[in-house]
């Protein structure tokens, strides 16, 4: 198993799940509590990566991040190189790709909160931010964990988008899933097998954590 590819994937998954949390919290909050009638349009956009083939997303990302694309050109002016085939480019593309995995669990858990608690908090004079931090977040805790864990796992296992925008560069864009693909082509089945088994175990652990949390087998607040 390639340690370099593994470290790269872990670095990518950590950054993407953290950045996604920052992006998804306000987005999910807005989606859960807005009364805007056009909300379903934004919901559809957020869910798009679930149904789009990774190659479609990867294709657009490659065009947008490359030296002739809008984002790529802007980046090139600022930093002297385009975003395609760089680690940062992978981060950007992965954020798009894993967005629904972060947003949807948050929206579900925000929506299922008892609204009377929020009303009470407002009546008692708490600001929206205070209500969010003291009431919503603690109660929606399983949703937050689920969002982070799922976006982490999804980024760790993504293949198509990385192949399209990454270009299989050792130490920069060769993630574990690309490494498996590469090893199979090199007829190194033993190496591919080790990495594949590792991903299988990680995926199982991640899903067990998510299901465990949602069944309240354990909880940071003790059993309720």
């Amino acid at each position: 198993m390639s340690g370099e590819a593994l470290l790269l994937s872990l670095r990518l998954a950590c950054m993407v799940s953290l950045l996604l949390l920052v992006i998804a919290l306000p987005l999910a909050y807005w989606l859960a509590f807005t009364t805007w009638r056009g909300k379903f349009l934004l919901e559809s956009v957020v869910a798009l990566p679930l149904v789009l083939p990774p190659t479609v997303l990867g294709f657009y990302a490659l065009i947008a991040l490359g030296p002739r694309g809008a984002i790529g050109r802007l980046w090139q002016i600022m930093f002297g190189h385009s975003l395609a085939f760089t680690f940062t480019g992978l981060v950007v593309a992965s954020i798009l790709y894993s967005l629904p995995f972060a947003v949807q669990p948050l929206v579900t858990s925000f929506e299922s909160l008892d609204r009377r608690l929020l009303d009470a908090s407002a009546v008692l004079g708490a600001s929206r931010a205070r209500s969010f931090l003291r009431i919503i977040l603690p109660l929606a805790w399983p949703g937050v964990i689920t969002a982070v864990v799922l976006s982490f796992a999804h980024t760790l296992g993504e293949f198509g988008v990385v192949l399209m925008v990454g270009g299989n560069l050792a130490g920069i864009t060769r993630t574990v899933s690309i490494d498996i693909y590469d090893r199979v082509q090199a007829l190194d089945y033993a190496g591919a097998q080790q990495t594949a088994l590792f991903l299988l175990v990680i995926s199982f652990v991640v899903l067990s954590v998510v299901y465990g949390i949602n069944r309240r087998v354990w909880s940071p607040w003790g059993s309720r």
């Binding site: 670095r11 950054m15 953290l18 950045l19 920052v22 490659l62 490359g66 030296p67 002739r68 790529g72 930093f79 190189h81 385009s82 395609a84 085939f85 760089t86 680690f87 940062t88 981060v91 270009g167 299989n168 560069l169 050792a170 130490g171 920069i172 060769r174 590469d182 199979v184 082509q185 090199a186 007829l187």
Partner: protein, 257 residues
């Protein structure tokens, strides 16, 4: 929090762009095994670290045109590097023919197709339902395979049995794993342990245009000194010896090794 993350993002982005001392090589998939030997030997002698990516030459051409950070590109043909030179993505004076590639018909021994005696006729065997070749759209070996099948007047008969690997080593993997019964692949891929036991028939060179393989240094490379040194190493005495070991004929020996 947000600021810290932003700093982290930029920091990591910077860290990956600074590592310029590693020589980044884009190599056609037929070099999969030969290039590892070449790079290993070069690393041992010069201390320069070499990172290789393998793929189809056509894909690399597109990636390099779009700014992929490679230093040197070893293509399986001459056209793709020439095209990069025309659009200003590779240096004209660096264009070097480093080897001639060859096509081989290959099958696992357990298929018992008797390739050596039957040659192309084995493709029409009723046990053959899938024939692996590289994608002719962007892989030079795939294009040559199609040309050879056409020249042998077999293409129309076997067209429905063809399966395309993304590049020539994926085509080889299709056959090696038994998913396809036989493949038209690069001779250079058949010298590793897991392929040695297979049956093979070298396709006569008259049947396909020569696979004249050229390399060029990428214009945007910041590592041209090392790239030039590596190119010289590959075409030099030692490099030629390694290429020959994998059935890749050095440029001045157009005849088979």
């Amino acid at each position: 929090m947000l600021r810290r993350i932003t700093i982290l993002v930029f920091g990591l982005a910077l860290a990956s762009s600074v590592r310029a001392q590693t020589l980044r090589v884009a190599a056609a998939a037929d070099l999969r095994f030969a290039m590892n030997d070449l790079a290993g030997q070069f690393e041992k002698e010069t201390g320069t670290k070499v990172a290789i990516s393998f793929g189809s030459s056509g894909n690399f051409r597109a990636q390099i045109e779009n700014g992929a950070p490679f230093d040197v590109f070893f293509s399986a043909d001459t056209e793709y590097p020439e095209r990069l030179i025309r659009v200003g993505a590779a240096d004209a004076q660096s264009l070097t023919v480093y080897a001639y590639g060859h096509l081989v018909l290959w099958a696992p021994a357990e298929e018992k197709l008797h390739l050596a005696e039957r040659g192309f006729a084995a493709l029409q065997d009723s046990r053959v339902s899938k024939i692996a070749i590289a994608n002719p759209e962007h892989a030079p070996y795939g294009r040559s395979a199609v040309a050879a099948l056409k020249k042998a007047e077999l293409y129309e008969q076997v067209k429905a049995k063809l399966v395309y690997g993304d590049n020539i080593s994926q085509a080889a993997q299709f056959v090696q794993s038994g998913s396809a019964q036989v493949g038209v692949i690069a001779l250079s891929l058949t010298f590793v342990e897991s392929m040695k036991s297979g049956e093979r028939w070298e396709i006569p060179v008259e049947l396909y245009p020569p696979l004249k393989q050229a390399a060029a240094i990428v214009s945007a490379s910041r590592n041209k000194k090392a790239a030039t040194a590596f190119l010289e190493f590959v075409t030099g005495q030692e490099g030629r010896k390694i290429l020959l070991k994998y059935g890749l004929a050095p440029p001045d020996e157009e005849k088979k090794p």
